[in-house]
């Protein structure tokens, strides 16, 4: 298996094997600043939310969170518009159009951290407040980024759950969207590092691509099951498309209980599998909360209450969220959905 680079050459930073929290070195603010932004304090602001793509459950949920927060605040006029394919070019074009149309704030989830930077800088130069969520851009191209969970944190949660289910010597494989998708690539890189450090005897079989296509994800999962037979003990699903498809493959292959599925997914898509007991638990932050937090962060940024040097920000019902890594806001611990609580979520 070739070494995972995570699509870029950033170093990995695995967490400690026990529950010791990472000691984040304090970093000075490294975000950008809008030029000549008008005073928006207290005024109603017009905001556009540009997710990676529209038409998938995950971003529907973030969009819902943003809408909820906007309604709650009463001073934000928010709308979601994104490309129909996770395509950097369409996303850039859309943001560009919204800069021209004159919005006060932009919320984004980047398809590529670098490719999106020029247009975001253009937005900053036009005096627009820019806040990212879910998928970051280069820091200087936006003011703040709402981080749902740190890459190494997700990696630890995933690998630890898998180890708990299949034991410290089990073999697993991964189904992801594409190798170039930045978040997935970084998660996999961090997982590799963490597994090597904390579960060195687990066996990483292979990683396959399945686009954002659930039937392909299903077929790929089946192929993995067929290829490795009893050797395969677990499958990681890296996207909200791949995880339910992998679970379905395991279900239909009648391997519930002998092949574990661990992955990132939205609760709605996972209810049948969790309910049937084929999947024990699903890891995901609450994307509704993520969107909700992002909207509050943008509001605070526009009001000037969240500025360089702040250590926390108030985010409505979520309370105080802390600033990390210079210009990121941490949402908090990911939610773990299981048989008992999955019915309480609807996204």
């Amino acid at each position: 298996q070739s070494v995972w680079t995570g699509g870029d050459d950033l170093p990995t930073n695995p967490l400690a094997c026990d529950a010791t929290p990472a000691t984040a070195a304090a970093k000075p603010y490294d975000g950008g600043q809008p030029t000549n932004a008008p005073d928006r304090k207290g005024k109603t602001i017009k905001v556009v939310d540009v997710p990676k793509l529209i038409g998938i459950g995950y971003f529907n949920a973030t969009s819902k969170g943003i809408a909820d927060a906007a309604k709650e605040m009463g001073s934000m006029d928010a709308k979601t518009d994104g490309p129909s394919k996770a395509n950097i070019d369409d996303q850039v074009t859309l943001i560009d159009n919204y800069i021209t149309s004159g919005v006060d704030g932009i919320l984004f989830a980047a398809n590529d951290p670098v490719a999106i930077a020029p247009v975001l800088k253009k937005a900053l130069a036009a005096g627009i407040n820019v806040v990212g969520y879910d998928a970051n851009s280069t820091p200087d191209a936006r003011q703040w980024f709402v981080n749902q969970a740190e890459f190494n944190g997700i990696a630890k949660a995933m690998v630890d759950s898998m180890a708990a289910e299949i034991g410290d010597e089990g073999a697993f494989a991964i189904v992801t969207s594409t190798f170039t998708t930045p978040n997935q690539a970084r998660w996999i890189a961090e997982m590799a590092a963490y597994q090597a450090k904390c579960h060195p005897k687990m066996k990483w079989l292979e990683t396959v691509e399945a686009q954002e296509d659930n039937i392909l994800s299903f077929n790929q999962s089946n192929t993995l099951i067929n290829k490795y037979g009893d050797e395969l003990k677990g499958i990681f699903g890296m996207t909200s498309v791949a995880t339910p498809a992998a679970a379905d493959a395991v279900t239909q292959a009648k391997k519930c209980g002998s092949v574990a599925v661990v992955g990132l997914a939205t609760p709605n898509a996972m209810k049948p599998y969790v309910g049937a007991g084929c999947v024990k638990s699903v890891v995901l932050w609450n994307p509704v909360d993520l969107g909700y937090a992002a909207a509050y962060v943008l509001r605070a940024t526009a009001d000037g209450t969240l500025a360089s040097g702040a250590t926390s920000v108030k985010a409505g019902k979520l309370g105080d969220l802390s600033v990390i890594n210079g210009s990121e806001i941490l949402l908090g611990a990911p939610t773990v959905f299981n048989k008992d609580n999955i019915g309480n979520f609807d996204f």
């Binding site: 369409d90 850039v92 021209t100």
Partner: protein, 315 residues
């Protein structure tokens, strides 16, 4: 009849464009501004370059579906040559363009030497070139280009986006070639009747080979501009761009069966699509609504010009 109907389609389309521009500028006062329009030019350059070459290809009765993959491959090679091989960036970009052009040449060889229908040949290389881009890049992006490189994609020359000059220059040269040169004449002749062209001593094979090579070249140049515009390379760049380019070309009146079409038409088609994308967005229509409308415009525009043409021949 032929020439007249050509003019008719383009006139119709130009009128439609004018109407669209007027309507859209009423919808948003930020639409019809110099800044916005120039900026749209920046955004449509890559598709534009590819569509210009595609006009020639379709006018011969062919098609090139592999352009998006050639774009991705060239982008990746630019990055790899520069960062991994260590070539100076201008050399790396030139070498990558040469490679992209070669990919087009390979299409041409498959089509002319092995007589594989263009649709099948480029459907196969669509998969192959994208795969090569992925394999070569190992899914890694190349970033951190020197600042001067962004002149091409993100800055202006004489107040106009740099790449728009390139598109403009390419459009002028291409329309002159297609309308006034022996080469252009050969393109139409091959598109109308390939056998007769061969029997007339025209170099059918060479022309086609040159066209697919040129198509590769256009996609490769578009790739470098694209990299410069978005500051990074990814192996999935340009996915699906072939359908956008083909849409512009057929909207512009080029017959998918070959033998007719003009660069002016293609450019108007391109502008119409871009104006709709931008103007509707400014008017508050979401992206999904916009793509539906573009689909409808494509069908209706060709329908309208069909009707005009038929009623024209009857009188």
């Amino acid at each position: 009849m032929n020439v007249k109907s050509l003019i008719r389609h383009e006139t119709l389309l130009a009128l439609l464009l004018v109407v669209v521009l007027i309507v859209l500028s009423f919808q948003s006062d930020r639409f019809f501004t110099v800044d916005n329009l120039l900026n749209q030019g920046r955004l449509m350059t890559e598709i534009g370059l590819i569509a210009i070459a595609m006009t020639f290809v379709i006018a011969t009765g062919g098609i090139d579906l592999s352009v998006g993959s050639i774009l991705g491959l060239t982008a990746i090679l630019t990055g790899v040559f520069w960062q991994n091989v260590g070539l100076p960036l201008p050399v790396a970009a030139t070498a990558a363009i040469a490679a992209g052009t070669f990919a087009g040449f390979v299409n041409g060889v498959i089509i002319t030497r092995f007589r594989v229908p263009p649709l099948i040949a480029t459907l196969a290389t669509l998969a192959l070139y994208r795969g090569l881009a992925e394999g070569i890049s190992q899914a890694r992006s190349v970033r951190g280009y020197p600042e001067w490189f962004y002149v091409l994609g993100q800055q202006d020359v004489l107040g106009v986006p740099t790449q728009l000059w390139i598109l403009f220059f390419a459009a002028v040269v291409a329309s002159i070639i297609l309308a006034y040169t022996t080469w252009g004449r050969t393109v139409y002749a091959v598109g109308s009747n390939e056998v007769a062209s061969r029997f007339s001593g025209l170099s059918v094979e060479k022309t086609k080979l040159a066209l697919y090579t040129a198509s590769g070249f256009a996609a490769a140049v578009a790739a470098v501009i694209f990299v410069s515009r978005v500051s990074t390379t990814r192996s999935d760049m340009g996915t699906g761009i072939e359908l956008d380019a083909i849409t512009a070309v057929v909207l512009g009146g080029t017959s998918i069966f070959g033998g007719r079409g003009t660069i002016v038409g293609t450019i108007i088609g391109l502008c119409l699509i871009q104006a709709l994308k931008n103007g509707l967005s400014l008017a508050g229509v979401k992206g999904d609504g916009t793509i539906m409308l573009i689909g409808a415009v494509l069908i209706l525009a060709i329908l309208a010009s069909n009707l005009f043409e038929r009623s024209g021949t009857r009188t």
